[in-house]
């Protein structure tokens, strides 16, 4: 028996047809959208023998192999540190893809990124002027502050400090979807939340982006566009094997920088770090 459900993530509305053995993770189910008209269809099948790779190999990482044939992509998807692939993703038309899952590795699919990686969402979202930012997405006075940094820097820690000392609220502890809407940028929810376990499907305008780094003393400043570009670029999911998508992502990052102030916060784990950033952000208002 199969199930068919419609989801909307950012501005991308799609349908997934999947067998009863599969259960999308609870965070993914927050993005279910009944009654919406899907623009794209995914079909998930369980099959131990994946199809043969077709096309030119354009990326090869320990957890991902990508093959490109014209406009279509085929991916073999794995998990870092685990041998082999748990899934094969194959675009079948301009509006559909088929996903094959290894029956021996269905257990991991309840993990947010393991499931969402099946869908190559970033590939569809860049066409909708959207960028996936590695950040803690925090709501403060009706607008979002996005704390971005490499893993283990302390995004969740700063988000928690803002919650404690400013009464903000974390919407997603690990990712936000930046989307251009006309002449402004908003942030939307994302179905992966890392270890924070906080994940909401919520949209709001962006007040600022804060690039974090650990420091012995707190200091915050508004970054020049050139400095901000390089830091932000590293925290955005970009299919760099696809030069067209890569260039467009950089166009979008430049546009983000024209509309949203980006700060750098060198921080300790203290109330002072919150005050320091608050001061810097008010200075620019």
């Amino acid at each position: 028996m199969e199930r068919t459900e419609t989801f909307q993530i950012g501005d991308f509305c799609f349908q997934i047809r999947y067998p009863k053995e599969i259960t999308p993770p609870p965070n993914f189910m927050l993005f279910r959208k009944e009654g919406a008209a899907p623009e794209y269809e995914y079909e998930i099948q369980i099959r131990s023998d994946f199809p043969k790779a077709a096309g030119r190999q354009t990326a090869m990482r320990p957890d991902l192999a990508v093959f490109t044939d014209g406009n279509r992509e085929m991916r073999f998807i794995g998990v870092k540190g685990t041998e082999g692939y748990y899934a094969c993703y194959e675009e079948t038309t301009d509006r559909s893809a088929r996903i094959y899952l290894d029956p021996a590795r269905l257990g991991g699919l309840n993990i947010d990124p393991v499931f969402s990686s099946l869908l190559a969402l970033e590939r569809r979202l860049i066409l909708r002027d959207s960028l996936i930012l590695h950040c803690a997405y925090v709501e403060y006075k009706g607008k979002a502050i996005l704390f971005s940094a490499p893993s283990e820097t302390g995004k969740t820690t700063q988000a928690n400090l803002w919650e404690k000392y400013r009464g903000s609220r974390t919407v997603n502890g690990d990712r936000g979807l930046l989307t251009r809407k006309g002449n402004e940028w908003i942030v939307q929810g994302w179905p992966v939340c890392g270890t924070s376990e906080i994940c909401e499907n919520k949209t709001m305008p962006v007040r600022s982006i804060v690039m974090l780094e650990q420091a012995k003393e707190d200091h915050a400043r508004l970054l020049a566009k050139g400095e901000a570009f390089s830091l932000l670029y590293r925290q955005i999911t970009i299919n760099r094997w696809n030069t067209q998508a890569h260039m467009y992502a950089m166009d979008l990052i430049e546009d983000v920088l024209s509309h949203i102030p980006v700060y750098q916060l060198g921080c300790t784990i203290s109330r002072h770090a919150v005050d320091c950033l608050d001061d810097a952000m008010h200075l620019s208002c």
């Binding site: 354009t58 990326a59 090869m60 566009k225 390089s230 760099r240």
Partner: protein, 95 residues
């Protein structure tokens, strides 16, 4: 010289950056910021035929003495060769 890797050159807020793309992006993370003269050298790497020609290009465009231009160019070329972004096209490896 020949550029053997794939890069996108881009100007962001007046700064020129080289961003690895395609297969090169799998090998090199991040991006390089080029000074004004490094940009000219990069743009002319495949157009000129010797270090002296490159120095001539630079001294034509900038108020820099030949000795300094030669030292700076040689240092950059040597670094680009070391990290494998470019390779010599002449058999004697002088360019």
């Amino acid at each position: 010289m020949r550029i053997v890797k794939e890069f996108i050159m881009r100007t962001v807020a007046g700064e020129t950056i080289l961003v690895p793309t395609g297969a090169t992006a799998e090998e090199f993370n991040g991006m390089l910021t080029l000074t004004e003269t490094a940009k000219v050298i990069w743009e002319n790497l495949e157009k000129v035929d010797s270090l002296d020609e490159m120095v001539h290009v630079l001294t034509e465009q900038y108020e820099v003495d030949e000795k300094t231009a030669k030292q700076d160019t040689a240092a950059l070329i040597s670094e680009l060769l070391r990290i494998g972004f470019i390779e010599c096209t002449k058999e004697d490896r002088t360019w």
